[in-house]
Amino acid sequence: MLAAVLSLTVLGLALGWLLGLAARRFRVDVDPRVAQVEALMPGSQCGQCGFPGCSPAALAVVNGEAPLTLCPPGGKALVEALGNTLGISVDTSAMNDGDPQLARVDETICIGCIKCLRTCPTDAIVGAPKQIHVVMERACTGCGACIEICPTGALALMEEEPTLRTWRWAKPQLVAA
């Protein structure tokens, strides 16, 4: 009994030491920029970028495996912030400048099942069971998660309507300049 205990202890210690050594020796430096980049991202883990969440997305960006323009909810503001952090300049003019999309509930179809409400990463949908739900435009990032889960197809993404607050001058169209 004692021998068994002893030998196991020794084995454990030895292996632990080896592991420690290995950890020190084969340590992979985590790029501190990954954390920085992740902090810039919206953090909604919505997956629109094709990655399972913001953290893998940040890693891919830092490793140059994904373009800076990967995150639709972040928009041009995020692209620029990323560019500044990583010291890369990007031409945002090529970015799809379609108006941001927002989810909207069709009140005639919604059955108040609260599925979408639980799915939304930003808690942008308000409602109660058996009551028609509403999307708060300010909080919606247009990630589309709710669209897929809605059993009645009551949710759809629509272009955000411009208001006096969001309207901007269009770029002059010139043939030659």
Binding site: L40, P42, G43, G74, A77, D123, R138, P172
Partner: protein, 485 residues
């Protein structure tokens, strides 16, 4: 008085002769008034009336909301017919919350308690009353006047500068106001001085307005603290920083405010509104508007109730065919209107219906790097370089070249031999910058929401676990009890 010269500037054809001879007339009440809830810089006012309600002239329609806002009052007596979205006087043609008032034809003022002698009033009361009267900068900037006055009392203001520049072509409403109501304007200036506890004011008028200069000089005579100066006619003299430079020689730093160099600037029409508010307790419910342009038959200066449609004004003055371009304000910095069904607001100094020959012609061609734009820019920017960056969406670069100091005054585009829409590019770039800032705010907000949700989910999970543990304990206790029994 020694004057200074700001850099650049241009002499566009003044076209003021079209309306300068027309004395101020009262615009008859239209069938309906459309009064937007935002006519000032800052937060929109909040409607305080119900549909169907009868209001008297000057009665409160909407309360100021927040520190930077202004209340709105009924321009005449009548019934509230709707509180609804209506086209704003804005190039986008987008709607804004608007109170619709049907005049009862009596034009009956609400009663206001009259102060005995305003100069006996404590100075703070002036700013308070100006705020309650809903007065905003009437030269077009529409910054709430009381906020400026309130700020002035605790800063080192050494000069009150009254802007009678009116440098935009066509516009003559300030000119007529100074000619015909010099006493009231001067009284307003003295009241503002009292409000900021300061003694000296300079009234600057462009030297092409002889009659206005004469009238104002004659009225100001005898007040040692007032000085009327003729400043050269040069666009954009009426711009705040350029006027300060001309009169005082002081340069407002880039990105800075007039108060930083100790100057408070107010427009002559604003001074008039202050006179009305303090002497008679009357809120700002009407203004003088120049209706002019080649497409207008009788060019006039009309005293118009706020909320009158541009269409009503044009029909009153008569017009020949459809105008080539419709503007609110002057041709250099005014707002291009999508159509005439938009209301006059507190900042509307002109309505211009221009005909084809009055518009610049020629289509854009590549920049020939002639440098004309650089020579005339009153801010000292390099418009051609700015434009290049705006074209390439290089907003940081444009910022480095002073984008946010650009006045959008149109001087550079006016002289450009290649007819390049320089100012339009700068408006575009400024809009993009604002959009960027908005997006950033949204991203930050999203992050907050996600964190809040995460915290909530964790709390819920914990609560669930706790509930499960409790149930388990209860079950165990029950079992133990059963075993005991």
């Amino acid at each position: 008085m020694k004057l200074f010269r700001f850099r650049g500037g241009i002499h566009p054809p003044s076209r003021k002769e079209l309306s300068a001879g027309s004395a101020i007339e009262t615009m008859p009440l239209p069938e309906r008034l459309y009064i937007p809830m935002q006519q000032h810089i800052g937060t929109p006012a909040e409607p305080a009336v119900k549909i169907g309600q009868h209001v008297l002239k000057g009665q409160l329609l909407a309360r100021a909301s927040g520190a930077l806002s202004a209340p709105i009052h009924a321009p005449t007596s009548g019934w509230i017919r709707a509180v609804t979205d209506f086209t704003a006087p804005h190039p986008s043609g987008l709607p804004i919350l608007t109170v619709v008032l049907e005049p009862d034809g009596k034009d009956e003022w609400d009663e206001f308690p009259l102060p005995k002698d305003p100069f006996e009033m404590p100075p703070e009361l002036i700013a308070e009353r100006v705020a309650a009267a809903g007065i905003v900068g009437m030269g077009g900037a529409t910054f709430p006047t009381a906020v400026k006055l309130g700020g002035a009392t605790n800063k080192h203001i050494h000069t009150l500068l009254i802007n009678g520049g009116e440098c935009e072509p066509y516009l003559t409403c300030d000119d007529r106001l100074m000619r015909e109501r010099a006493f009231e304007v001067i009284d307003g200036v003295l009241l503002i001085l009292h409000g900021i506890r300061w003694g000296r004011a300079i009234i600057a008028i462009e030297d092409n307005k002889h009659e206005a200069l004469e009238a104002m000089r004659a009225t100001a005579k005898g007040y040692g603290q007032l000085e009327v100066v003729a400043v050269p006619t040069l666009y954009p003299m009426g711009s705040e920083k350029q006027l300060i430079k001309t009169v005082t020689g002081l340069e407002v730093p880039a990105g800075g405010l007039a108060a930083q160099v100790g100057v408070l600037v107010q427009n002559v029409a604003t001074a008039y509104a202050v006179h009305e508010a303090i002497r008679y307790g009357r809120p700002l419910v009407r203004r003088i508007v120049t209706v002019s342009g080649g497409a207008v038959r009788d060019r006039r200066n009309l005293e118009v109730p706020i909320g009158t449609l541009v269409d009503d004004l044009l029909r009153h003055c008569g017009h020949d065919g459809e105008p080539e371009r419709l503007l609110m304000g002057g041709p250099m910095m005014g707002t291009v209107l999508p159509h005439a069904m938009v209301p006059i607001v507190k900042g509307s100094n002109g309505v211009l219906a221009l005909s084809k020959p009055e518009l610049p012609e020629g289509s854009a061609s590549p920049c020939i790097r002639c440098g004309s734009c650089v020579r005339v820019c009153p801010v000292g920017l390099m418009p051609l370089e700015l434009m290049k960056r705006a074209q390439n969406n290089d907003l940081d670069g444009a910022q480095d070249y002073g984008l946010s100091d650009c006045l959008s005054c149109g001087t550079c585009a006016y002289v450009c031999p290649a007819h390049l829409p320089l100012t339009h590019y700068f408006n575009y770039a400024k809009g993009e910058l604002a959009a960027r800032a908005q997006q950033k705010r949204k991203n930050d907000y999203t992050r907050q929401l996600v964190q809040a949700r995460q915290a909530r989910l964790e709390r819920e999970a914990q609560a669930k676990a706790a509930a499960a543990a409790k149930r388990k304990a209860e079950r165990a206790a029950k079992k133990a009890q059963e075993a005991e029994a």
